[in-house]
């Protein structure tokens, strides 16, 4: 078990290095940098710009820049955001936390809806419940995140029940801790719901087909033949085995979730990594873009690692083999 996990953990390192190298290369290929726009400004002398460029190692070739960047990242420092004029680490940690929060709650909502519905649809196969769930899943799979986010914005603006964008109200700092918590939660509900609405359908369909497959297995027939109650057969015997393959789609679902979060953040003004990426992109703050991409990949890789952990925990074949 431990050696398996250790192997998986070790596998993450070259992956993250590769991702950072690839993004760095792409950023190096990008025409112009943050200082291209500054150099148009007559107020700033070319010496100042040259000095600043040297400070950020932008006068060096890209692979040298990469090593400088890697060196500081390994010591826990993500550099300095040229556009925001603050250390990138503090910026990224806050945004990463927001994206995590959004994705995490969306995931809980999505799985919380998808699993019971999937089980229900499988148990009542070919009933109107099953058909209704399938249709709803089809609609859920097809409605684009962009449209859903815009509809949510419209809903928030029309009813006034939810704040229109943002992660907290401007007066958040003046509130008591309880009010602050409620304020944050109030801002989180709508984006998390939108993200969950885009995510649940795939999980539900998977849950339904897994359970249907398991219900066809011989040990289920045997359990029924022994006279066990239908509820006992489904929930004690079939369901446990049907849940297992779902852990493997956890990773896929997470990747879709992070891309979905990117859209939701940008439309609903949720200050997460995706929004920061776009801001850094427009400001040509190339190091910050790299930081964001690496961080988002890190989030995904860690999520996959957790999925592997769960899988190894639930399935002894994986633990013992490797």
């Amino acid at each position: 078990m431990w050696s398996y996990l250790f192997k998986r953990l070790l596998h993450m390192i070259p992956l993250l290095l590769g991702v950072s190298l690839l993004t760095f290369l792409l950023m190096a290929l990008a025409p112009g940098d943050y200082f291209t726009a500054l150099s148009q400004n007559p107020q700033i002398s070319s010496e100042t710009i040259a000095h600043l460029k040297a400070r950020f190692h932008l006068d060096q070739p890209w692979y040298v820049q990469y090593f400088y960047w890697l060196k500081s990242v390994l010591s826990g420092d993500f550099g300095y955001s040229m556009a925001y004029k603050i250390p990138a680490t503090s910026l990224i940690v806050g945004r990463l936390w927001n994206t995590f929060l959004l994705s995490f709650f969306a995931m809980i909502i999505a799985w919380g809806i998808a699993l019971p519905l999937g089980i229900w649809a499988a148990v009542k196969k070919d009933s109107w419940i099953d058909r209704g769930c399938s249709l709803a899943a089809f609609l859920g799979l097809s409605v684009p995140d962009v449209l859903l986010s815009l509809l949510a914005l419209w809903f928030a603006a029309a009813t006034g029940w939810f704040p229109v964008g943002g992660a907290q109200s401007p007066l958040n700092d003046l509130m008591s801790p309880a009010q602050q918590f409620w304020d944050r939660a109030h801002h989180l509900i709508l984006p998390a719901l939108v993200l969950a609405a885009a995510d649940w359908a795939g999980i539900m369909r998977q849950m339904r087909s897994n359970l249907l497959d398991t219900l066809r297995a011989e040990y289920v027939t045997a359990a029924r033949a022994r006279g066990l109650g239908e509820g006992w057969v489904i929930y004690k015997h079939a369901l446990r085995n049907a849940i297992n393959p779902l852990l493997t789609i956890f990773g896929y679902s997470l990747a879709a979730l992070l891309s979905g979060a990117f859209i939701v953040e940008n439309i609903m003004a949720w200050p997460g990594l995706g929004r920061l990426t776009m801001e850094a992109f427009f400001a040509k703050d190339s190091y910050l873009v790299v930081d964001c991409v690496v961080m988002a990949t890190g989030l995904l890789v860690v999520g996959n690692f957790i999925a592997d952990l769960l899988l190894a925990w639930s399935d002894p074949r994986i633990r013992l083999n490797k």
Partner: protein, 361 residues
């Protein structure tokens, strides 16, 4: 000679080819067929967008910003278009009683190019009078007809999906076939590269790739850029699956036979291995087109894809991001509905194709 009996048709029926069986199974799935029909309709409309659209996508009506939906009415046996007049100040329009103009068909209007080649001026419908416009889906913040822009936009949004899929799947199949067939170091390197691309959340990678292109590109260049970016990301997952299939296919006897007959490696991959993956590829392609369409939508929506004044479903939605617009002029969401219908149709068709290709059931 007159003794000869007419030759009887053989009673045994010709066995159906796998494709005929596939088609027969597909035809039984009504939802899939409905999805296919909708798609054929959508692509036909996109093909003749200039003819169906009453106006050119750049045409601005400076008297009618944010005009609500304006439909012709039935008057006797004719369809007539009522005239609306702007109220005071904020974009409110009132019909002028009794002031109408008949709706005409096949009339001359704005210039366009039929199928992108033939210059033409004939439009499906309109009134031919600027004071009596027909805005079936209202107008946007520049007084442009939303329906016309939607139709022109469909040319971009719908074609990017197909071209992107063709490019990335061809590439993915080739790479996957080579990787699985040769194995060894080639395989390792290619698969690590695929893993790398697939491990970055798609939109983050799309934006990083977008950064490498210079600003101020022409619309054709932007179009090509979006296709390239989306294909760059899309080939990896395809290559992985094809590689897996190739690994088992290359052990089959017919591959050995082809090799024994002296065919080159390339020919074995192209002629014998890849055709065996087609049924999977067609299903996967149908189910993947929506992702390419959505990729264009997101890029254009964020302002880094198709640029104004050109219309795409993505950049039309950008206006709807303004909550003030969204509340008062909800018809700006029309492209969103169009995207939804398209994606739904592709999913219906893809699901049916998958079931029809699954011979086990």
């Amino acid at each position: 000679m007159n003794e000869a009996t007419p030759i009887q048709n053989p009673t045994a029926e010709q066995p159906l080819s796998p494709w005929q069986l596939f088609w027969r199974r597909l035809k039984r799935r009504r939802i899939a067929m409905a999805g296919g029909m909708i798609l054929i309709g959508l692509y036909l409309v996109a093909l003749f967008a200039g003819f169906i659209a009453p106006y050119h996508f750049e045409r601005q009506d400076r008297d009618r910003f944010f005009h609500p939906l304006l439909w012709p009415k039935l008057s006797g046996f004719h369809l007539v278009v009522p005239r609306y007049e702007a109220g005071d100040g904020s974009f409110v329009y009132h019909p002028v009683a009794g002031d109408t103009k008949p709706l005409r068909f096949f009339l001359r209007g704005d210039k366009y190019k039929l199928l992108g080649l033939v210059p033409a001026t004939v439009h499906l419908f309109g009134t031919g009078d600027e004071n009596y416009p027909v805005y079936l889906l209202g107008t946007d913040q520049f007084g442009r007809d939303v329906l016309s822009r939607l139709l022109y936009g469909s040319q971009i949004s719908l074609s990017i999906g197909i071209i992107g899929i063709l490019l990335s799947f061809t590439f993915g199949m080739m790479i996957g076939g080579i990787s699985g067939y040769f194995g060894g170091r080639t395989d390792t390197v290619i698969m690590r590269l695929c893993e790398l691309i697939m491990s970055i959340p798609a939109l983050y990678l799309i934006i990083s790739l977008r950064a490498t292109f210079p600003p101020g590109m022409s619309s054709a260049q932007v179009y090509a850029m979006i296709v390239i970016i989306l294909s760059f990301i899309g080939w990896a997952s395809m290559a992985r699956v094809i590689r897996g299939m190739t690994l088992s296919l290359r052990e089959q006897q017919f591959v050995l036979a082809a090799r024994a007959l002296g065919q080159t490696h390339l020919k074995v991959i192209m002629r014998h291995i890849l055709p065996n993956t087609f049924s999977y590829v067609i299903v996967a392609a149908t189910l993947s087109v929506p992702y390419y369409i959505l990729g264009e939508v997101v890029l254009s929506f964020l302002g880094v894809g198709i640029q104004e004044p050109n219309a795409s479903w993505g950049n039309m939605l950008t206006a709807a991001q303004n909550t003030e617009y969204l509340r008062n002029y909800p018809w700006l969401l029309a492209p969103g509905a169009a995207i939804f219908v398209t994606v739904l149709a592709f999913n219906f068709l893809g699901d049916g194709l998958r079931d029809a290709a699954d011979t086990k059931s």
